[in-house]
């Protein structure tokens, strides 16, 4: 839902008042601006904020809230600077003092160890650490059993330590800002507007905090806080498990067990799929080789047949390997290195040639019976079979044909 025209019209008056205040306070010169009551700012702002929030389309609500929160914080600080100016001191000084007081108060509150973290977002406009606070703000935690309240205590302590350090950095940043302002003043320079001062403060704070974030102290404070939060949450989970179990309901642990099993199945499935695709491509390769062999074989047979000038079956051609034919003459142009076959030496190569076998294809095409016959004729004592010359030749033929 977006705002209606009427609503926007109604808001205009309130907005105008707000922006007039905000902009008129910009010149930071004592006495140059009309008096402004902080409670009045708060009140107007509160009304406006409430209206905006209820009427803003929901996806934009959080943005609106952030803009309004930051605006209110900004305005509050400006008003405090203003007040200092009204009281005769420097508005810049008033602003910085207000900021110092903010971080000082926050730190003191943390030192006192009040129940909540006491995070006061008014200086920032929004709370960048809200997440860490949420666990502590839940109502009814006091009814939890003792082990849990100990965990809560522990988390609060660790979080408090972290935020103490953070507020100290905040104080340090304001001190640095004050020093920088003094240096500027010595050079005769000054800050001209609330906005300029504010920007200087943000810059200084990020610098100081950025340095802090790189220290071992930060690392350990942050780690302790997160770990204490994990422990607390684990404790709460355990407590819930007990409740579920007592009520005979499925527990988180049960669900996690299922989820784990599910993921294992997904991985198993993926691994099987991988295997399947590897097997598929191996099969494809074998099929390709087979096709190539068939084609070569056919070509060889046709060549032999053409040479014999009569239709000759494959077996016939191989049974008459010594026949001097045109086919043989043709084939002699293409000789494979039969020595690549494990077990075939130079002498055997010659005897294979004598038997009419000059290429891998020819050898590969032998039937088991023919292989045995070849073994006898070569007096190879079973090596043709044992060393699988036919299979070796088939593989060599395939790889040769691929290369071609």
């Amino acid at each position: 839902m977006a705002w209606s025209d009427d609503f926007i019209k109604g808001l205009t008056a309130a907005q105008q008042r707000y922006w007039e205040m905000a902009t008129e306070m910009s010149p930071l010169k004592p006495g140059s601006v009309p008096k402004l009551e902080i409670p009045a700012v708060e009140e107007k702002f509160g009304q406006w904020e409430a209206m905006m929030e209820s009427m803003t389309p929901s996806p934009l609500q959080s943005v609106t809230r952030q803009v309004m929160g930051a605006g209110r914080a900004y305005l509050n600080l400006a008003a405090q600077a203003q007040q200092a100016g009204q009281e005769g001191s420097s508005p810049v000084d008033g602003w910085v003092t207000a900021m110092e007081k903010h971080f000082g108060d926050w730190r003191a509150q943390l030192e006192r160890g009040a129940g909540s973290l006491g995070l006061d977002p008014s200086a920032l406009g929004s709370n960048p650490f809200a997440f860490w606070q949420q666990l502590l703000d839940g109502k009814g935690t006091e009814q939890l059993p003792a082990p849990l309240s100990n965990l809560i205590q522990n988390y609060q302590n660790q979080a408090r330590e972290f935020f103490k350090a953070f507020s100290t950095q905040g104080q340090e940043a304001v001190e640095t800002l004050r020093k920088n302002l003094n240096q500027m003043a010595e050079k005769g320079q000054g800050v001209q507007s609330v906005n300029e001062l504010y920007k200087m403060w943000v810059g200084t704070s990020e610098q100081v905090f950025g340095r802090f974030a790189l220290t071992d102290q930060y690392q350990s404070l942050y780690g302790n806080m997160v770990n204490a939060m994990s422990e607390l949450r684990t404790g709460i989970n355990g407590f819930m498990e007990q409740q579920y179990r007592a009520a005979n309901l499925p527990t988180r642990g049960d669900l996690d067990g299922l989820a784990r099993k599910q993921q294992e199945l997904v991985r198993e499935n993926r691994s099987l799929n991988d295997q399947l695709s590897r097997l598929n491509s191996a099969l494809q390769q074998v099929q390709n080789e087979l096709e190539a062999l068939r084609a070569n074989n056919k070509a060889a047979v046709e060549a032999v047949a053409a040479g014999a000038a009569k239709p000759v079956q494959q077996e016939k051609a191989l049974e008459q390997p010594t026949g001097k034919t045109a086919g043989k003459a043709e084939q002699s142009e293409k000789k494979d290195d039969l020595g690549q076959i494990h077990g075939v030496g130079p002498k055997t190569i010659e005897r294979l040639w004598d038997a009419g076998i000059q290429t891998f294809e020819q050898l590969a095409a032998l039937s088991p019976e023919q292989a045995v016959a070849l073994d006898h004729s070569l007096d190879a004592k079973g090596r043709v079979i044992r060393e699988d010359w036919v299979g070796q030749a088939a593989r060599l033929a395939a790889s040769t044909s691929r290369l071609v």
Binding site: A2, W3, F7, I8, L11, T12, Q15, W19, E20, T23, M55, T56, P59, L60, S62, V63, T64, Q66, A70, G71, A73, Y74, L124, G125, S126, N127, P128, F129, A130, F131, W132, N195, Y198, K199, V202, E206, F209, A213, L214, Y218, Q219, Y222, G223, N224, V226, N227, M229, S230, E231, R233, T234, N237, R252, D256, A259, R260, Q262, Q263, R267, R270
Partner: protein
Amino acid sequence: MAQFTEQLTAGLARLGRAQEPESWATPFEVVYQTGLCRLLYFPAQAPVAATATSAVPLLIVYALVNRPYMLDLQSERSFVRGLLDAGQAVYLIDWVSPCRSDRYVGLEDYILGDIHDCVMWLCDCHQVPVLNLLGVCQGGVFSLCYAALKPERVRNLVLMVTPVDFHTPDNALSRAFQQVDVDRLVAAWGNIPGELLKQVFQGLKPFRLGSEKYIDALGVLHKDATLQNFLRMEQWIGDSPDLAGEAFRQFVRDFFQANGLVRGSVFIGDQPVVLQHVTCPIFNIYGLQDHLVPPDASRALAGLTASTDYTELAFDAGHIGIYVSRKAQSIPPLIGSWLDGRQ
């Protein structure tokens, strides 16, 4: 003064009237889906000569953190659009937010599962044996691991703001994780809430991101286009999906804490990631103002791979500005011509 007040009043009215901004500026199609991601295809927008479109598809692998429409928030400053106009066939992996039962999804599932599935699908679709990978931040880490595990599939590797050395002294994000017991954190939460991650990032610049940004916004409310851009960016920042617990645990343990890419100790599933297996050309782009991935964290890649064609681009921008700023619009054409020279 009256004019200023008027502007602001009108501006706030616009904030109230503004509709939820569209996530993506450039039209896309979902061409393929796996369990954990959608593969988006961006058809060319400007008329590009048929011959000018690259035959090798470009696959953008985004991080698991936040959503990828940051690369396409507005059409006149869109990284995706820039790549399209540079003649690339652009695909993007848009991760699906994990649900409760995805808490045991690990890096192997993302890298050897979804990314690999998308790569194979694209290779099949385009009838090519290889493609170009472009990894964004954590997606760059995934892409780098993938290129080491499946070098036969990656023609060129473009890395943007990608951390390689997680232990450079200026890496505040990494420092924040060093003493976190990540096993316990994940055991306690299951999936890691996006809200927690958001706070981790915002906590690195609490004053700038928690306050100043919104005060600045007050000043631009009267400018329609600027307001829209602000809202889009806010929407993007707020749109922070949960992270699958196991993948988060592995990433923090193996990369942030053990600095595994530099030490050579990373395993994806049961396979070691050996950066020396990466031989393809690499274009390593990083931001000189990047506070999340400091320049040195990215520069560390030089010399770790076996690539003989390694190019660096140091760009004067931050982690996000390197995509969305006006001057960053010069980067996609550079990537395009770098890729075109290496088809």
